[in-house]
Assembly symmetry: C2
Homo-oligomer: 633 residues x 2
């Protein structure tokens, strides 16, 4: 965590100094704003936290509810989401309070007595197998709390506008604030009153029954399956020995997906309520909790649960739907989009794979920096078209995965030929539910894979998978990727050729060029801004940390920033072994020993892989999505 | 982190439900209170956080300052202190914002050109070599913030009474609140007014110029050395390559102890100002900052610092003093103590070894639970005499270490025969500055070492050094010691003999006895309290977690607690290897394979080591410091 560089900070360093629109932010929703976020779920909250890093942009977030979410439905947290929390500064806190999934166990009918269930398999969960981050269970309400804190502590000081709901919108062809939005107060002194406000952009983060989606004429395409599930968060006493282990239970009486929750006592059960008649007309949703508990006990036989408290319960039919477009841009591309859909507003599915909240957050992470860059003049408005292009395929992949998983989970015992196949499927597909399968295709912000062989462990378009390196200034082992906060900046990692600092090398030449007027840094960083305001440029040497003399490292990697012009010491790393780090990022990620430049997007996806010599290509890559910033601009 | 067991918790689980005196805590200092803490430094703040876990006790803490400490002087955090922060629930947060000491480097005169300094040695810091916790640097103000939060979030909801200073006290022979204390308002509407309040006990945490110490007639014994040091926290640009590494710099122009601070930019320098004339009369304290910076640059030659901002600076002469007694009990032991001294009020020394704040906190940790136990009727008042008996030798040890370290640090180059000897001393003595050398002698709360050979890695009287084990209920690897929060409870770890759960074994017999009316649990737990309110009893089996059937574990290790009577699943552990844990606590700590009971005090010190068969001895041990609690008491 870096601070004090704008002068001494006495209190919590997570509270950044207010700036721009955060300096005197009005409590009341203004008449005009740059970004209006509709809904404060996972996508909206992340988006507000991200926009708080762009204090030059006026961002507001309206929420129908009159306050904080008390009890959310989602609870599964992918390793990719924890990685995202790390970038927003709260991973270590949420990990400390969440349930960590260590194993997933499988139960099936006892062959000797099929009325009883027996444990058929234990599988180690994929979390720590696939990432340095765990696979967690924690209530959505807490995730929202942490993002709300990040939004409030960012320079933009963004707080939700509670008690205001979305009514409708019109996108005008012209004007500085072309989106006219009607909102209604649902609480407080103005309850029941309508108001019209104007925004440059609107993000519809308003859930499965999205009013924004309806207003832009997009439709949810898909179906409800004829299978119903009861879900309950319960405090119980039980003789079921896996109460605190995630389990898939398959019994003659039906199926349960069992998920322990944070805190050591509570667990969630998804209980199979069976096929629903074609003419049921959602009557199954009225199933009383007593019936759900009775069914759970039937499935668990010979074990039983004695329910002491029901924290929450619901009944739903599995549905799988994707919206036909994620923004309001016309099919002919005649204008750039002004309204975006995220999360459940554009993709809904069953809850059991623990995906929904995670994919929603990544929607917000994808959209946020793009809005920030366009609205601060760094990028052209055409950048915004990449949101739909990138996120719609992810939503479709999610629906496909969930449909397959739900079907497997809802099988009858007689349909299961191999009792291990669910366990096998669970592990074989781990990359998807852990959140790491997303791979964005070539675009203005993701380059072509011409030089992929120089960095085989950093697939283009996938998220930058961190490795521990040694920080040269102090010898500490740190995760290279964890230094990249969700601050809207591009990362440029210059992996050195074989020479160390102070010797003639491709890296030294590259660094000299990066400090010259021809470099992307000079071209695309606004005049007057810190030299690292747009590009966070780091060097990673192949040597051990004590073989890199930081006094001889090029100035490009030791920028002087902030009002005091202080040297930033934390951009120079060493890959060689040290007392506290045995990993070698060159070996672990298959990096060329001739050096390689890896460009990583503000949302952590690998955007370009280039040789140190490919200077024009680097400039050309950035010129696709960044506007030249002249000194008099 | 365990919660939800009193019903579903929606918000931050670190905020415990208010109870007892925390339910309607008055803002104004009351006329009578159980405990009055004077001063809100590290010892006082820890004490208030600890007392907040005893909501049946009325605790107040007065502080002369009218608000939060903005800039503290101390900054060194021993691994033992981080271990303590873990017990108070904020280790992961303070680690995230602190500077982690990875190395300590040593600089001396260049033999070829003695006017210049050169790096003579790098040593890996002892933090992670000696503990699972790091050795940190972070401002005292932040440590206080976190303890203040723990105090405010505990059931007792304790907040400091700012703007009130201590004037004097009298200890009366009789009465329920025998300590009469005069205080004065230093801020607010009542500024300048005196008031008399009464307390059962007073803790003087009021620093080196302690008024409480004076009031009870104790005196600081010791001397000032004739050596002065300037200290400054500065933001600089520099060509000195170790600006971000802890260094001892020995040059012809003097000595510097250089300590990087949190945030990546700030560092602290202790700069040798040389011998002070006998008739100086503390005039050296007036040394201007410009002179300190000039001296620093002279020592650093050929390197230089360009100071951009001075966050704080001071000048002091090294002093080493210990108070002749840490409480007000008469030498003849005619009555139990009523007033206690902690921290700088009873031991002062140089700042450079980074010890003061750490030892002060352990003073508070030692005293807090004892006050809590006596005031809630669990223990006799005689328990309080152990505070001085245990902490005064630690203070003397501190002074001795610091005197030696300060002398070594202040040597001239010509006095140094081996340039490595400071590095050697630094590592050889690491156990002391890391905070782990404290070993309490036999007393009513620390047993005799008759069975030490059954647990060689848990020396009696030293703090319980944790090892990772596997939690049986969910297969997670967790640190056994980290489950023990600073909640004032005794820990009883029952390490099993070779049988697993469900088989006849010494452990099974012991567990049956522990659930019987003869056990310490039954004798010393108040009627109506949860069965684990005084003793947190855990089992650790030798098998792997999947070889322990939790359904067959004795009830003593699966207690039902809280208003809902819910099973606590987190008291049963396995030592055998699992996917997430390769450590075997039996092997790592030399535990007898015949089983052993380890009793750990509420402040984390190993108190008793007994065979599973030694039931009477276990009861007898607890009977020394706990009072029988009959059902009708």
């Amino acid at each position: 965590m870096q601070f004090h560089h704008h002068g001494y900070v006495s209190a919590d360093p997570r509270v950044q100094p207010a700036a721009g629109t955060g300096l005197d932010r009005p409590t009341e929703l203004p008449d005009e704003m740059d970004v209006l976020i509709v809904g404060s779920g996972p996508a909206g909250m992340l988006l507000s936290a991200q926009m708080s890093q762009f204090p030059g942009v006026t961002t507001r977030m309206i929420e129908r509810r009159d306050g904080r979410l008390v009890l959310g439905q989602a609870d599964g947290i992918q390793p990719r989401s924890v990685e995202t929390f790390q970038a927003f500064g709260f991973a270590e806190r949420i990990v400390a309070e969440a349930y960590n999934i260590g194993y997933m166990n499988f139960w099936g009918p006892d062959p000797a007595n099929p009325r009883n269930i027996v444990r058929t398999a234990r599988t180690e969960d994929y979390g720590f197998k696939i990432s340095e981050f765990p696979h967690l269970i924690v209530n959505q309400a807490r995730v929202l709390d942490y993002f709300a804190e990040a939004a409030a502590h960012g320079p933009g000081r963004i707080a939700p506008d509670y008690g205001i709901e979305f009514v409708g919108l019109t996108v005008h062809e012209a004007g500085e604030y072309p989106v006219e939005v009607t909102v209604r107060y649902t609480a407080g002194e103005r309850e029941g009153q309508d108001r019209t406000v104007r925004a440059k952009y609107v993000a519809g983060c308003d859930g499965a029954r999205s009013g924004v989606r309806e207003a832009i004429g997009r439709t949810h395409v898909g179906d409800f399956a004829a299978h119903a599930w009861g879900v309950m968060d319960v405090l119980v006493n039980t003789d079921f020995p896996d109460w605190r282990t995630k389990c898939a239970i398959n019994s003659e009486a039906g199926n349960i997906l069992h998920i322990p929750r944070e805190g050591g006592y509570l667990s969630r059960m998804y209980i199979d309520l069976g096929e629903v008649a074609a003419d049921d007309d959602h009557r199954v949703r009225q199933t009383p909790i007593e019936e759900i508990i009775r069914k759970a006990n039937a499935i668990l036989h010979p074990y039983a649960i004695d329910v002491k408290q029901v924290a929450w319960h619901s009944v739903y039919e599995v549905g799988h739907r994707v919206t036909d477009g994620f923004d309001d841009a016309p099919a002919d591309g005649a204008r750039d989009p002004r309204v975006f859909l995220t999360g459940d507003a554009c993709h809904t599915h069953s809850a059991k794979a623990g995906q929904g909240m995670n994919v929603s957050m990544q929607d917000g992470f994808n959209l946020g920096w793009k809005l920030g860059h366009v609205l601060t003049g760094l990028s052209p408005a055409s950048l915004l078209a990449t949101y739909t292009a990138e996120r719609r395929p992810v939503a479709q992949q999610l629906i496909d995965f969930d449909r397959e998983w739900s079907t497997l989970m809802a099988r009858k015992p007689e349909e299961i030929t191999d009792p291990q196949d669910l366990a096998t499927y669970y592990l074989a597909t781990a990359e998807f539910p852990s959140g790491f399968m997303t791979q964005y295709g070539p675009s203005m912000i993701t380059g072509a894979a011409a030089h992929q062989e120089r960095a085989e462990g950093f697939p283009l378009g996938k998220r930058f998978k961190s490795v521990e390196v040694t920080r040269v200034c102090d010898g500490n082992a740190v995760h290279l990727g964890h230094h990249a906060k969700a601050d809207g900046r591009w990362r440029v990692y210059a992996f050195a050729d074989t020479a160390t600092a102070g010797e003639a090398s491709a890296l030294a030449s590259w660094a000299e060029w990066m400090s010259s007027p021809e470099s992307p840094v000079s071209r695309f960083t606004p005049a007057g801004a810190d030299v690292d305001a747009v590009f966070d440029v780091k060097a990673i040497y192949q040597q051990s940390y004590d073989e890199v003399d930081i006094a001889r490292v090029p100035a490009a990697f030791l920028p002087k920033t902030g009002p005091l012009g202080l040297t930033d010491w934390e951009k120079v790393y060493a890959a060689g072994p040290s007392a506290w780090n045995s990993a070698d990022i060159f070996a672990e990620r298959g990096l060329s020993r001739d050096g390689v430049v890896i460009v990583v997007r503000p949302d952590q996806y690998v955007a370009a892989i280039l040789p140190l010599q490919a200077r024009d290509e680097l400039t050309a890559f950035f010129a696709q999505s960044l506007l030249p910033q002249t000194a008099d601009a």
